[in-house]
Assembly symmetry: C2
Homo-oligomer: 138 residues x 2
DNA sequence: AAAAAATATATTGTGCACAATATAAATTCA
DNA sequence: TGAATTTATATTGTGCACAATATATTTTTT
């Protein structure tokens, strides 16, 4: 057996597995506000920005239109966002937070703390993990 | 704006994004042997074990039968594995590496090194990242 | 042994994630 | 200005990831 192909030798498998685990950890909390994790990420950006173009949102979340277009349609169905065209450029799609979307924010307020409470890592370790992931993403 | 809901304050978003990035980094290399990343993980276990029950494989990969059953059927279609029943227990599904599956291993040998070469993290940082992810997964 | 409970895997349905491609509008160039 | 190119988003198709549930077999209990 070659060492390099042993599961226990892999660096990326734990990362892949940890990301799955974390999204799963969010699920019960996000269920209370009827959002998936990627939807929650999009809503976080909108709570910050009020409105944003699909392309800009994609840059913030590292997701493309193939992922975002259907996701944003689902948020539109729930009346959390509205989808408009750019005023100058008709190709652009401007996503706006609705009042219903804005009203969701206070209900999400406690979720980060609650999830952190379920984590096996302390704040220091979470910070290290974040730095390493950010460097990987550079 | 509440600090706790800012995207830049999140600990898990970089982890989620980094995992997507890493799977994407593997893709061109895995394409040469016609495997997806989760399929590659399953094959790695089989290269180690030769045969394994679905449940045991799920424990190694942190995946359930809802994910593994269709994945293993696809590997079966490619004739990389065969799917049998347990000899004692008819409920069990025993997955066996085929000769074709075994023949794939040498072609995968160089992939871990190649992917590591694309990474923005050095070996030390990869090791730290792995340790943190493992602790999170405990 | 028959009924009940537990176990292993499969199925169903939803929502990503992404590559590849399509569409349509804007920009650049001839 | 008209054609070619670029840009922004949408569409299509594949394969996860998982919750919820179903099925079938085994084990335990009565």
């Amino acid at each position: 057996m070659t060492e390099s192909l042993k599961l226990s030798s892999q660096y990326c498998f734990p990362l892949y597995s940890a990301a799955n685990r974390v999204v799963r950890a969010y699920r019960p909390f996000l269920k209370t506000i009827d959002l998936t994790y990627p939807q929650y990420l999009a809503m976080m950006v909108l709570w910050e920005e009020e409105s944003i173009l699909v392309g800009q949102l994609g840059k913030r979340l590292n997701l493309d239109s193939g992922t975002l277009t259907p996701l944003l349609k689902r948020l539109e169905c729930k009346q959390l966002v509205s989808r408009h065209r750019g005023s100058e450029d008709e190709r652009e799609r401007l996503i706006k937070l609705t009042s219903r979307g804005r009203a969701l924010q206070p209900l999400a307020e406690e979720i980060p703390k609650q999830v952190a409470g379920c984590m096996k890592l302390n704040l220091d370790e979470l910070e290290q993990l974040r730095q390493l992931c950010r460097k990987l993403l550079d």
